[in-house]
């Protein structure tokens, strides 16, 4: 049931990204909705679910692009796992801590993704500081908004705390 929820969340994010992607890219601020979904799942459900969500989302995303299959998967796996650990070890229930986690996750993802491509001499990103910072900010804003919106749904907090006590470590 939970796996179905993760797959649905990633599929929704992918569909939104491929539909709205052209309009979400404005200069350096390019939102990666799939990464937002992975970090959201990881913070909500813990490191193992975050790891699997990252692997699944990253590999599907890689398969849909012209890049190497596995690089995005690796980056999102690491990000999903670490975000899950942060979600279980620290209290990340307020907008500001969530913003920081989303921003840090985006920067880490960019470092791994671009670093691997540069290391393998496949793509050169020049000096992408503005792009990385822009994407981090955009992802963080969207991520915090998604959390706030989901929590506005009736009974969402009760469901989450119930699910958390059963599954999270």
């Amino acid at each position: 049931m939970k796996a179905a929820g993760v797959i649905l969340a990633v599929a929704l994010a992918l569909a939104s990204q491929t539909t709205l992607g052209r309009f979400l890219t404005r200069g350096p601020a390019a939102v990666d909705l799939v990464l937002v979904a992975v970090v959201y799942v990881a913070l909500s459900s813990g490191p193992v679910t975050g790891l699997f969500a990252g692997t699944f989302a990253g590999l599907v995303q890689d398969a849909l692009t012209t890049g190497i299959i596995g690089i995005g998967g690796l980056a999102k796996t690491i990000v999903g796992f670490l975000a899950g650990i942060i979600g279980t070890q620290f209290i990340v229930t307020q907008p500001i801590p969530r913003f920081v986690v989303f921003f840090a996750a985006s920067v880490l993802h960019a470092v791994i993704f671009m670093g691997l491509y540069a290391l393998l001499d496949l793509r050169h990103f020049g000096t992408p500081y503005a792009a990385v910072a822009g994407q981090g900010l955009a992802n963080a804003v969207v991520g915090v908004l998604v959390f706030q919106l989901v929590e506005l749904l009736p009974g969402a907090v009760d469901r989450r705390s119930g699910a958390g006590s059963r599954f999270r470590r």
């Binding site: 992607g21 052209r22 350096p28 790891l51 599907v60 998967g73 690796l74 793509r123």
Partner: protein, 283 residues
Amino acid sequence: MALVDIRQRSGYLFVGVILAHILLISAQVSSRSGVPVLEAVTFGIFSEVQRGLSSAVHGVTSVWSGYVGLRHVKTENDTLKKQLADAQVALQEQRALADRAQSLEKLLELRDRVNLQTTAAQIIGAAATPDFRTVTIDKGTRDGLRPDMAIISPAGVVGRIVVPSARSAKVQLLIDRNAAAGALIERSRAQGVAVGGGEDRLRLEFVSEAADIVVGDVVVTSGIDGIYPKGFVIGRVEVVDKSGLTYKRISVKPAVDFSSLEEVLVVTTPTPGRDAAGEGVSE
């Protein structure tokens, strides 16, 4: 219960998944020699053993053959000197012929512009990740599309087809980090290469120091890449950063607004470069 068990081993699971990713990446990535990294690493390890054995054997044989071979060095040296002199003369002749051919090519350049056949296509999707600047169009190999066909719009050059499927095709936009097109300054005819940067601007690279480029110049395709037809608008020079004689940075604003593209034209007229590359492609 099983789920809890897996979670207790999350660290091992993490390492396992990471290793699986590394193996997956290694299997696809080619090393500098063109061989997959995994194969290159495996081969590299075993080749070191072979190298050790070979150098031991070579050490013994080279002592003997080097000593005996010295007797023939003088004769061989004289022969090689004569061959070098002959080759230098031949090189001069070839260079003269090449210069002449280049002049003739310039005369024929005017013939390049031909009527283009195009197919209209609609954009049905964007890239799955913002790190790649691609779009998906609703035409594919069934409509006669092939890799490296140029995509244009009324405003200018859009990109090229990278992955065609039966009913759709992936288009690499000119602003993608891996995209490039042969470019020409319309006013001064200075040549360069328009390179994508992953953002909304292009860079003009490989421009001669003597080239005359100013802000506002129109940049068009030169056609030398064999993909984009000659004379189509790429964009307009926005920034020229020149230090002394050298151009440090030339930024080009694309003529096409990639965020609002809805319909494009696929150039189906064959080009020499594309035909050579696409000979092995089956539809």
